[in-house]
Amino acid sequence: MLTRYGTLLFAAGFAFLLFVLFTSQPLGAPPMLAGQALLDEAATTVGAANIVTAVVLAYRGIDTLGELSILFAAATAVGLVLGSAHRTLGAGAPREPGGFILRAGVDFLFPLLLLVGFYIIVHGHLTPGGGFQGGVVLAAAFVLPVLARPTETLSHKAMARVEGLAGGVFILTGLGALAFDRAFLAPLLGPGQLGALLSAGTLPVLYLAVGLKVGAELASLLLRLSEDEADA
């Protein structure tokens, strides 16, 4: 009891302290020292209409690389923890196949999700959305059929290949800049026409890599969690 109320008290106190700190200067008027300068030049130097994309892939591309690696590490770690060698469906309670409607719906959804996913990814530098969101849609496209039909499986190996390829492409594109005597992750090919699909240099390539990698990793995460345990 004491712990319970004490904890609540301290949690409330923590929130209160943060409230004090965050109200010490007005909200809605951030200093934006870096932000404003970035807004001013992003369109011309990077050429992405979606400035958040410019930040994610160009200005802070290394963060995104780190983030992809985190997802990769998490997927690898989940694989290490849950293992993948045993995929014996009969071991646990037999999973009933989903109902007909579900299966039909999934069959219908698959191409649609695929299309939507890639659309979101390639338009990432123009409109909201991009590699991450598209990647999730792609993951969903591949995972839903498996969930609906337990007999169907996705090859972890294939996903690992896609994942590795996408990660490699991201880094190699970044390293490609070194060949032009530019810094790591510098966007190549020039900014292009603002708002055009083929603009913002190599950003769409990067986002495609991000999308594939995120998709593959999330799909493998989901599959591993959905697989029944073979051993206790």
Partner: protein, 96 residues
């Protein structure tokens, strides 16, 4: 008070209620759903804060994928079985 403000207040209250539900609901699967709802609510806030990218991501990854992960995990933890819910809060899970 403007309408927009009122909407925000209501939303915030709803989100906090959902958060409480996530913490106090006996049914852990329901709690997982509540968590996904919180994510959805937060993504609405992101839209209001002019962050459509973040909103999409939060909705897709935080709510959608996160919810799916939680649901799948809940199934493997045996939390979908109704009879298990009673003791799970006290003993921390079904007895083995």
């Amino acid at each position: 008070m403007a309408w927009a403000d009122l909407v925000i207040v209501i939303m915030v209250v709803l989100v906090l209620v959902a958060a409480c539900a996530a913490l106090f609901l006996k049914n852990l699967l329901g709690a997982a759903v509540a968590t996904a709802l919180v994510s959805l609510g937060v993504s609405v806030f992101f839209v209001m804060l002019r962050a459509p990218d973040v909103a999409l991501t939060e909705a897709a990854i935080g709510a959608g994928l996160g919810g799916l992960l939680l649901a799948l995990a809940a199934r493997r933890l045996g939390l979908w079985r109704i009879e298990a819910q009673e003791e799970s809060e006290h003993a921390g899970g079904p007895a083995c």
